[in-house]
Symmetry: C2
DNA sequence: TATCTTTGTGAGCGATCGTTCAACTATGGA
DNA sequence: TCCATAGTTGAACGATCGCTCACAAAGATA
C-alpha cells in the first residue's frame, strides 16, 4: 500500500559519506547533500529526521561497510598478516582514481566537539581498526613472522595512532614518498623487516 | 594622531586560536569570535580583512608561538633529546587545566579541503615539528643515546605521523593509559628503551 | 473508478551566517 | 579650540542555513 520509495538507501548513504568525508559535517549543506544524493529535503527528513540523523546513519554505514570491509580484507583474511598490515596502510593513500583522500572516522574525530552526537560512532570505528590490528599481529606472531614476545595490545594501539596520523598527513598533501617511508617505519617497528615486500 | 587601538593583537590572536582549535574554522561564527576575543566586527574587518584573514593570522601565530615554542622547549633545547621527544608527546595530552585538547594544526589539516587558504600554514607547522624531531634525533645519535645507523629522516617522519595520530585519538576521547602506551611505543621504535624514565 | 496511504517535490519559513558602514569616540597637531 | 585622523560600535544587509509543509504523484484496496 502506498507509493514505493524511488531511491536506494545504501546508495544515498554511500554518496553522503563521500560528501561528508570531503567537506566535513559543517561544510556539507543540505543543498550539497541534495545535489550529491539526489534526495530532496522532504524525503530526507521523513527518513533520517535531520541532517544529524543522516550523518549518523552515514557514519554507521561507513563503519559497517568501509571500515569493516577494509579490516576484513587486509587484517583478518590475508594468509600473510604482516603483508596485510602493510597493504592496510598503503590503501589509505594509494587511492588510485579517488581524487580526494582521507577517512570519515579521522575527520569526524577531529570535528567531534562540534558534532558530539557522532563520538560514539567514531569510537566504534577506531576500536574496530585497533582490534583488527591486534588480530593480524596475533596471527603473525603465531605464524612466527613476528617476535614471540611482541606486545600485541601496545603494538595495535601504536599502529592505530600511526594510521590516523597518516590520514592527517594525507589530508595535508604530504607527498607519496614520505607516506611510504612512514609505512615502512610502521612495519619495521613491529618486527624484523623482510625487505622488498612492498 | 587618531584614536589608539584598545586591544592587544597578540591577546586577540591567542583567544582566536583557542576558539578555532576547539570549534574549527566553520564551527566558529563571527558572533563566537566576538564573544571570545572581545573584538567587534568593524575592528576585526579593519585589521584582518575577513574571517579568513583572522584565521590565517591565528594559524601563523599558532605556528610561531605554540608550535615553535614547544619544538624549542622539548626538541631543540633539552640536554637529553630522547627525554625531550617523550615529553613532546606527553605534553599533547597531559594538558592539565585545559579542558579541551587537540592541535590547531591537526584540525586544520583535516579541515583543509573546506579552508584551502590555510594549507600553506598547515604545511609550515608540520614541517617545523618534523625538523624538530630530526634535530633531536640527530643530537641523540651524536650523544650515543640512539643507534648510530638510525635513519633520522625516516624516524622523524614516523614520529610526526604518530604525533598527529595521537592528537586525533585525543580528540576522540581515548583514555590516558592508552595514550601513554602509544608514547612508550614511539620511544621504543627509535631505539633501545631506558626503562622507568617517564 | 474512487479512496486511502505512502512517497516525492520544492517553495518558503525563521534563524543565523559573513560582512558592511554610518555614527560615535578618542587622540594629536595647528 | 577646532579640525583631521584613527579606532570603536552595533544595527542591518543580502545570502544561506537547517528545516517544514502543502500539494502532487504513485501504488494498494475495494
Amino acid at each position: 500500500m502506498g507509493r514505493r520509495q524511488l531511491w536506494d538507501r545504501a546508495e544515498v548513504l554511500a554518496s553522503a559519506m563521500r560528501l561528508f568525508r570531503h567537506r566535513g559535517y559543517l561544510g556539507a549543506s543540505l543543498r550539497d547533500i541534495e545535489e550529491a544524493t539526489g534526495l530532496h529535503p522532504g524525503s530526507l527528513y521523513r527518513v533520517f529526521e535531520s541532517k544529524d540523523g543522516l550523518f549518523r546513519a552515514a557514519l554507521d554505514a561507513y563503519n559497517d561497510q568501509v571500515v569493516q570491509g577494509r579490516v576484513r580484507a587486509h587484517l583478518l583474511e590475508p594468509m600473510d598478516p604482516v603483508a596485510g598490515i602493510r597493504s592496510f596502510f598503503t590503501s589509505a593513500f594509494e587511492t588510485g582514481l579517488d581524487p580526494d583522500p582521507g577517512c570519515l572516522l579521522t575527520n569526524t574525530a577531529v570535528e567531534s566537539f562540534t558534532v558530539p552526537q557522532a563520538a560514539a560512532g567514531v569510537r566504534r570505528g577506531l576500536d574496530a581498526i585497533e582490534s583488527g590490528f591486534a588480530d593480524a599481529l596475533t596471527r603473525a606472531r603465531a605464524l612466527g613472522l613476528l617476535s614471540a614476545d611482541l606486545d600485541v595490545e601496545a603494538s595495535a594501539a601504536r599502529l592505530l595512532a600511526l594510521y590516523q596520523g597518516l590520514l592527517v598527513l594525507v589530508r595535508a598533501g604530504t607527498p607519496l614518498t614520505k607516506l611510504h617511508t612512514i609505512t615502512d617505519g610502521a612495519m619495521a617497528s613491529i618486527g624484523p623487516e623482510k625487505d622488498g615486500q612492498r
